[in-house]
Amino acid sequence: MREVQWPRNDYSRVPYFLYHDAEIYKEEQAKIFRGRTWSMLCLAAEIPLAGDFRTTWLGDTPVIVQRAQDMSVHAFVNRCAHRGALVRRETHGNAQSHICIYHRWSYSQQGDLTGIPFQRGVRGQGGLDKCFEKSEHGLEVLRVEVFKEIVFGTFSDEAEPLVDYLGPMMREHIATLMKAPIKVLGYQRQAIDGNWKLYAENLRDTYHASLLHEFLVTFGLDRATQQGGVAMDERHRHNLTFAVASSDSDAEANQAYGAHSINSDKLTLRAPALLKFLPEFDDQRSLSISSMFPNAAFQRLNNSLAVRQIQPKGVDKFVLVWTFFGYADDTTEMSEHRLRQMNLLGPAGLVSMEDAEAIEIAHRTSRVVPERHSVIEMGGGGEISDRNYRITDVPLRGFWSYYAELMGIEPDGAVR
């Protein structure tokens, strides 16, 4: 692997080649996604019944998440031990076993290899050697933990327990979001032509939010003049961004944004129900989005609730999967309100459609200058710490510090 020269030890300069190098991508799969991190796999509500399974991705490894007959949750690699074929091709289903269509090798709900057609051949001819041990050829099994009805997995025996990995900040945020039994309302998927880390950065970048997403400012949904801030876990790998609605005045916002040619003259919606915020959490936050290293985000924006999963698809592409949900005891009106508010997010989101374009243009033009670097200095350089303001991208440096640690590419005297 090419040696990484960090211009500064506080990650305020990130070399562009980290987003574009095939060797780096390969190392990330091994050391980050298959390394000592936890990734979000799915929601427990997606596999409520014994036998339910869902296929997903951990990094670029295909994974089956399965609820067994005893209701325990298992996860294993969705790749036949025989010839490497995808075993389960459906997105979800219910099954006692998983059978690869190629040669009909079959696996249990725990991923054990249970059946090999013609293992002893036909009429005493062919088949496998007698010494072939089925138990050595199961599907590779992940460690699984379920926290607040969200299913997480890791390939690493060295990964710390999930609750420690999440830390108090993430645990509290997830516990608030998952305060009651949920029901999944549906999925949105989006294929973005950019490196997955550009999205990890985007999630941690509160500086861009009200500048790129003009809808937020124009309709007073999220403005840097509102109360809010960013908080990280102890290791600075995860991030929480939050804001409190109606904590600033329109006049204050007009003054702050007017100087930057941003249209903050509040437009009125003909159908303002779209923006209605029905407080349902104790903290009064209208926006609260946490990002978990490396592959997930947990979101509430007004009453729109979702988890997002990042699936890297090579250096130049990732797929973003949004799973929207409400609570099982939502009234019809509340369900309709959540479904309406979904208009704000996802690939057609009034406040999120810009992210794809921002990532794609950053990816496209940084590719040809791998030797150059980005500048990440909002909120100042040096120490990586929480801020009670929003014009900051310090959490990006937090992301890179943990990334560099896992990849074994920290500079001398690295800030963590």
């Binding site: 549906g186 949105q188 437009l267 003909r270 797929v319 479904l339 208009n343 690939p347």
Partner: protein, 157 residues
Amino acid sequence: MITAKQRFAVYDLYANYASTADACRFDDWLNLFAPICSYRIISRENYAAGMPLCLMLCESRDMLIDRIVSLQRANEYAIHVDRHMISGIRVTQAQGDLLSVEANFLVGQTNSEGELSMYVMGSYHDTVQISDEQAFFVDKKVIVDNGCIPHAISTPI
């Protein structure tokens, strides 16, 4: 049974839908909808699973107008030209002045440097109102087969 004139009005409606959307003539596009109307884009994945979540949901003409105003005033998106190919328009049911109409669509997208890519493909499942041999959308469901949307959705499909 619908008349030939009504059938032509339905065909014209879809032709005008494609041409106004592709030319970003959104005011004219809006006028293809009845005063009381709804419009939604939903992935085949959710539609087939009976899940209600849409990619875009406009439950009223006002919400459609808000969408268009936001596109014109607030949103940033890739500079592009869409081209709708609509085919297989078929009236599946007629009841009074309301018709159930289905059609297939394919949208190609060309970027600012003239490169073309396949964007979305799917089917329309619509309710169309026929009045005075003019047709309007009362309810338009855009079911996108490739629910894993390339880039993003900005302009209507």
